[in-house]
């Protein structure tokens, strides 16, 4: 009797849970995704949105005044740096290939725009992971999608490459109009973009630039200019210590493009321009504050007075661990710089514990790709190697207030 009861009960429980989930899904579609914004042509657009053109209406949409939650103008392109000449030496060439991927690619013939206007197009954004940063990206993308009246969905694989591939297969099967993809891995991006291209779906990377090989199949690039920003950051750091000192680096996850932009490229930059900025050590303790703290404490023991600067790849957990270790050792003379503009990072800058951080607007990271998609469907020629970067800035104690409140 009890066995049967238990089975019945568990089945009922599962069912009720599922049903409640279903309920949530239908009640609050805007919460997580399926932001079928201001529905213009939601259902019909799935298969053939080419039927009717709304080009004129689409071109009329004015987005120049859309603002992010930090009060900065959202849909504004940053400076696109010119491509540096291609070096010949092997390691320098590898770095160049990462930094300028997609900038001088000989592309496959691009999938032509239908030029039927952006309104009502089904655009899928495939993200990387569920993290407060990505929540802010979603918010930005949603704001932009609402402005453009796009039938917009966000799919989040939560860091799982296998799941991301599933989403791509799904997007192909559902014949969506455009895919915005933040590849979880630069090299794995090749197959992903190739698949989309072969299926005739236009796609472009955002947030992270895949390898040059993958860019053959992509429409354009939208990404934060990590390399450029970090050179600016490195420059301001070097100037503040008169171009002389010992630098230690805490890296992002090795192998990814943030690793090269935030660590290796800075090291190369110093080697070239400020030869007296010596690299002391490089460690990858991940994003656990106590571990970063220990690494820095070990550095202070090991290098003593030689250590004058620390470059972090993350301005929350890493920067907190670093600054606390410095405080405990009484070494507030050591200058710290970091990437990103989370609330924690900006508070640290304001308190004078961190010298400078980069401005990487999470909301713009999600919003600007949407603008490019709009241009694509509105028939504006993007050019063969279009690259759009997010607005750049270095945040120091002087200008930190203008970037408040933080996006995440």
């Amino acid at each position: 009797m009890q066995k049967k009861l238990l089975v019945v009960m568990s089945v009922a429980l599962i069912t009720s849970i599922m049903v409640s989930f279903t309920g949530c899904g239908t009640k609050t579609p805007a919460e997580t995704s399926t932001a079928a914004s201001t529905s213009v042509a939601t259902e019909s657009s799935a298969a053939g949105s080419t039927a009717s053109s709304n080009l004129e209406e689409s071109l009329k949409i004015d987005v120049s005044n859309v603002k992010g939650s930090d009060g900065q103008i959202l849909l504004k392109y940053g400076v696109t740096r010119d491509v540096a000449p291609k070096p010949t030496e092997k390691t320098a060439l590898d770095m160049w290939n990462i930094e300028y991927a997609g900038r001088q690619t000989v592309k496959e013939p691009m999938i032509a725009s239908p030029k039927t206007g952006i309104i009502g197009k089904r655009v899928i954004m495939i993200q990387q992971s569920e993290h407060p940063y990505w929540t802010a990206v979603s918010n930005g993308a949603k704001t932009a999608a609402d402005a453009f009246k796009v039938n917009f969905e966000m799919w989040n694989p939560n860091g799982d490459l296998n799941q991301q591939n599933q989403f791509i297969d799904k997007a192909i099967a559902e014949k969506v109009d455009f895919v915005l993809l933040a590849p979880l891995d630069a090299k794995a991006g090749v197959q992903q973009f190739k698949k989309l291209y072969d299926a005739g779906i236009p796609a472009m990377p955002f947030n992270m630039i895949p390898t040059d090989e993958a860019m053959k199949y992509a429409v354009a690039i939208s990404a934060p200019d990590d390399f450029g920003q970090f050179r600016l950051l490195a420059e301001s750091l070097a100037k503040s210590v008169n171009g002389k000192g010992g630098v230690a680096y805490i890296t992002h996850i090795p192998g990814g493009s943030p690793y090269f932009a935030r660590t290796v490229s800075v090291q190369n930059f110093y080697k070239e321009k400020y030869p007296d900025m010596k690299t002391l050590d490089t460690q990858s303790p991940g994003f656990d504050a106590p571990k970063c703290k220990q690494v820095v404490a070990d550095w202070i023991t090991r290098f003593g007075k030689d250590l004058t600067c620390i470059v972090c790849a993350d301005d929350s957990a890493q920067a907190l661990g670093v600054t606390q270790a410095l405080e405990e050792a009484g070494r507030t003379d050591i200058k710290v710089v970091a990437a990103g503009n989370s609330k924690v990072g900006m508070d640290l800058v304001k308190a004078g514990k961190v010298f400078a951080i980069t401005y990487q607007s999470a909301e713009a990271d999600g919003a600007i790709p949407m603008k490019i998609v709009a241009d694509y469907f509105n028939g504006i020629d993007l050019g063969p190697n279009a690259a759009f970067f997010l607005p750049q800035a270095i945040i120091t104690k002087e200008n930190v207030d203008s970037f408040m409140p933080a996006q995440w």
Partner: protein, 380 residues
């Protein structure tokens, strides 16, 4: 008062224990779950059953299904293998790294198809051998060194994740020639639903069926089941228990390495940190193995049921995503499902434990006596 309640319970339980339908239903409950999930999801979202959703979903399940085979074997032997997550990456990175090495040695693109095939064969063999070596070390430490498998494999997990990073110097490795990739992922038939049949799919199915038959239909497999349920007794019965356990670990690492190999080739990229973010494949497989009905202490289980459990979990994830829910709902659903199964299993064992030693016949007699007395009383 209490006694009557007790006896009635016993009687009812007894009746149900005899009911073959219930028993087989309970044994195959994972299939019931699977069908139930499919029904609920397709009611919630009719597109769920479309080929555009089912095919990608099954493709995604291939990796955890392969890993689940070995994991189930180890758990049947009464152990845990927590190192599988890292072995996936070892398999993936080594196959790519070694392919590039041998491809270059043999002369690269100039060598033609022969060189290509030869390089792939060698690379896959090396990667599988690396997996087998890991399994051998795990197995030796557990069986001969008498260290608890939980500890050995945690140590192995740490060691291997460090090793993989050092092996690929932190970079993603992709093969210098991607011809093989397209062959592996190309569907045989371009028919809806049957698009899922690619070489990768066929390999997984063959491995799955092979290990299911090995486990349930051969002397070797029955012996492993016996080792899991009672090590002492099987040793007394003349089974080389140590050898069985070592083999189970070797199988586990080999299937995990194979999963990594196929995954890497299908994407033409081997990532050193796959599984470090999101739901760890290890956790997914562990949950699937339990939900699939493998007994936690060993001695019973089936790899096909584990595979069905993997698909069940994936369909829950997939359906929830279709309903517009995020990772929070997925992880919650996985947790609740796992918790329900664990509680149900333990509760029935607990009930058995309470029943142990009770002599049903005597209780029946007591009940009859009591009933008689009651009748006598009412008559009086």
């Amino acid at each position: 008062m209490r006694k009557t309640k007790n006896t009635s319970n016993v009687l009812v339980l007894k009746r149900f224990d005899n009911s073959k339908i219930f028993e087989s239903l309970n044994d195959n409950r994972i299939y019931v779950f699977l069908i139930l999930v499919f029904i609920i999801m397709s009611i919630g979202k009719p597109q769920f059953l479309g080929p555009g959703n089912i095919v990608p979903m099954i493709k995604t399940s291939l990796l955890p299904i392969l890993v689940g085979i070995g994991f189930t074997y180890v758990m049947i032997g009464g152990n845990f293998d927590l190192s599988v997550g890292a072995v996936i990456n070892v398999g993936a990175c080594i196959v790519m790294g070694e392919f590039n090495r041998f491809f270059a040695i043999f002369g690269g693109d100039a060598g033609g198809t022969k060189v290509l095939v030869l390089s792939w064969v060698i690379a896959i063999a090396v990667a599988l051998a690396a997996g087998a070596a890991v399994g051998l070390i795990n197995g030796l430490l557990v069986a001969k060194g008498k260290v608890h498998s939980f500890i050995v494999t945690i140590g192995m997990l740490t060691t291997l994740s460090g090793f993989v990073y050092t092996y690929c110097k932190g970079n993603t490795i992709s093969a210098d020639n991607s011809k093989f990739v397209d062959i592996l992922e190309k569907p045989f038939l371009n028919v809806p639903y049957l698009q899922v049949i690619t070489i990768r799919f066929v390999i997984v199915v063959i491995v799955l069926v092979f290990f299911e038959i090995l486990l349930l239909r051969t002397k070797w497999g029955r012996a492993l089941l016996m080792v899991g349920s009672n090590k002492e007794a099987s040793w007394q019965a003349g089974i080389n228990t140590d050898k069985k356990i070592i083999w189970s670990f070797v199988i586990s690492s080999c299937t995990a390495a194979l999963a990594g190999i196929l995954f890497a080739i299908s994407m033409n990229a081997a990532v050193p940190n796959y599984g470090e973010r999101g739901i760890n494949p290890l956790m997914l497989v562990l949950a699937a193995t339990i939900i699939g009905g493998t007994v936690m202490t060993g001695g019973s289980g089936s790899v096909v049921k584990t595979a069905a459990a993997v698909i069940t979990i994936q369909s829950i994830f997939n359906g929830l995503i279709m309903m517009g829910l995020g990772f929070d709902a997925q992880v919650l659903a996985a947790g609740v499902l796992l918790a329900l199964v664990v509680i149900y299993e333990s509760y029935s064992l607990y009930k058995q434990g309470l029943k142990k030693g009770e002599r049903v016949a005597l209780l029946e007699e007591a009940a009859e006596l009591k009933a008689k007395k009651k009748i006598a009383k009412s008559n009086a």
